[in-house]
Amino acid sequence: MSSCCDPVTDAKPQRGAITVALAGNPNSGKTTIFNGLTGLRQKVANYPGVTVERKTGRCQLPDGTWADVIDVPGTYSLISRSPDELVAMEVLRGLRTDTKTPDLVIVVVDASNLQRNLYLVSQLIELGRPMVVALNMMDVAERRGLKVSPEVLQRELGVPVVPVVGHKRQGMDQLKAAIANAAVARMPDWPLPEPMKEELLLVGGGLAILDSEANAAARVAPPDARPQSSWRSRRDKPTKPQLGDAVPPRAWICGDTNDRRLDRYEALAERLLIGDRAGELNDIARQEPVASLLTSATDRLQQLGIEPMQADIEAHYRWIDGLAHRVVTVDRQPEASSIDAAQTEQAPPEARRVEPGRTLTQRVDAILIHKIWGLLIFALIMATLFVTIFWAAAPIMTGISASIDALGALLTSRLSGPLKDLLKDGIFAGVGAVIVFVPQIALLFLFLAVLEDSGYLARAAFLMDRVLAKVGLHGKSFIPLLSSFACAIPGIMATRTIENRKDRLATILVAPFMSCSARLPVYTLLIGTFFAAWGAAAQAGIMLALYALGIVAAAATAWIFKRSLLRGPAPAFILEMPSYKLPQLSQVARQVWTNTRAFITKAGTTIFCLSIILWAMAYYPRLPEHRVQQIRATAMDGKASEKEAIASADNAVSAAQSEYSIAGRMGHAMEPVIKPLGYDWKMGVGLVGAFAAREVFVSTMGIIYSVGQVEDETGGLSSAMRQDRYANGRPVWTPLVAVSLLVWFVLAMQCMSTVAIVRRETGGWRWPIFMIVYMNGLAYVVSLIVYQVGSLLLRV
């Protein structure tokens, strides 16, 4: 109940009272719980400079206050140098300046996959933040005959454990209520090997001494006169906290209150020894004498056959094994598989010999990843996806652009002059250029959401990985690349399912080579005009060759990128094969909605602005009025009917106008550059226009050749192009010019919408600009070779 005197209860404050980070393994059902907590109050953005999506939301707690919820990217571990997981780690540790340090962490744990999920929990315990465990997928665990006891887990960890069923929204209120009781977990005494514990004491003591020395030096000497020997004074960024400050905040190293071991220096020593290089740890580890302290400790341990990183992980898992043993009881049911039970891992080998009953997932997998059926079904699903976004979306797209055009014409019918043209051909066409992609994007994300939520996406990657691995891509690159044959925009958006940043970037960079549907009108026009005499088979062959050229270019560039630009220690290909689930309609609908909305608001703005600019370039400067009259008079001469005369005059004026415009002048200015490829200025204008969308090339040609708006019938344009001659009588268009131009269209990056989406997906202009440079560079070189070598051969 709210009143005017009590504005606090209902009003949504600018900032939540507390910040909650939602962490968890991939496939743990984290997203459904995020949706359950925040409802529709969500914001999707990118973390600056990285291709990682940043989702935040708002959630009202039982006491009426609001909490900001950060959906941390799904991660298996907090110690990782892969950029995607780095973001998760940085958010949780409060190292990111763009994200508020979380006050507490809700960790989503998949009860049916307890051991591996508890590994992340064990790392979060070390973080020392107040924590709540959301025990998800209890229903799945139960179906497998596993009884997971939240009470025991709560007692063992010392933090609230709330059983939830994410996809049924069960337990959300209890989870919100538990936030108030969030507690710092008890620090377990990891069963580390004794020699390692001794080394930790030793290194920790060393660090403590070094730090106190450095502190003393800092107190006596002015900042610039600190002794160079001090490992703290070499830090050249005075704005960052001093290491003396970095060591004490156990809040992000080992927790404030719960560390039962010697002290925080020991905890720091452990982070350093196991190779944790997060934030300031990197600086600390690299400075002398810390570096040599670490090296000698590592050497001593190595001689005993102990590798600190491995010993740490094994200690965590040993603790997990014990914990799982106490938390899970196996309740055998007919459907249950004996090996699925966590307990069996500890059972003697003979016990595991029993023939396991198979889970539903295994039975389904027996068909869906079958050597023959699996590939057939995969082909069928992909064909359906392709047909849907290639053909099924087309009528909706034409309908949308037609109605936007009609609406624009209707609304501007009373206007005249530049304002009318701006509204009609600039603004409405710009909106149309954005909206036209919506059916494709919505349909693709409908497919993706169903495939991903059901668990099939991992299988698709499993099936296709062999092929794509050959050129350094990932199994998950398949669907984005396939979608790019319809349009690179949804294709590039689909790369979000690829977790690894480098694999994702490589896929984004090569996706536009796939011949999209916007290239088809250009292919059809050029092939139809210049190779019609060769017969239908030859025309089809040329078309096929163009598609093949795109694929070859994509494979080759991907191969090169993964060996040069995107090289580096490739993280292991580890693909979890989640259990099959029935996709939830509400989740699917939400995915479609958020992705479509994100496209309209983020990429749409850029596309809209660019189309206005392109419109202005084709519109201004206007032909002087006297020239218009002159052209009209010439064009109307000798025409039989008045109607024909007016049409001919209109066409002549638009042709003259387009030559007079900035785009036309650019075409002329470009001529020396594109001459070696066999193009003249008219094609240059066409190329400028094609930046709005490749198919615009056809209509630009129509305007320039004064055949008016090219609709379905391109006969007039074809003959006009064939008859076009240079001043010396040489034909402007030859089959060779057409081939050179076709090659250009296959390889060049000339689609502002793709540029806009790449900017959005990669979080900056760096990659889209790189893309324009390398793709157009490649297109130029290959077209140049085609035309020059072709001319030589034809002359011989």
Partner: protein, 92 residues
């Protein structure tokens, strides 16, 4: 139904009692003995649960031969041949 393990035919291992995970036949089981490879890959494999003698079962190979699907600690995951060969297994 259980196929015989290809362990007998495995000549690639240094120690006769262990076998690289990628050499293990489909349907075979074993326990993790050691994990090698470059540190980053090794860390990943350890963190995913390839440690402390966990039991691993080979489920299948992809139709095109690679990657390989395994069951480990109650869940399924797949690795490329390239990664699996860094995991040494004591066949059971």
């Amino acid at each position: 139904m259980q196929k015989a393990c290809s362990f007998v035919a495995c000549n690639h291992c240094g120690t006769p009692d262990t076998c690289a995970l990628n050499k293990l036949g489909i349907g075979c089981r074993g326990t993790v003995f050691a994990v090698g490879g470059d540190p980053e890959v090794r860390r990943r494999l350890l963190e995913m649960g390839f440690c402390n003698g966990a039991s691993v079962e080979v489920i299948r190979r992809a139709p095109l031969g690679d990657p390989i699907e395994f069951r480990l600690r109650g869940y399924h995951l797949s690795l490329r041949d390239e990664q699996a060969r860094h995991v040494q297994i004591v066949p059971a």
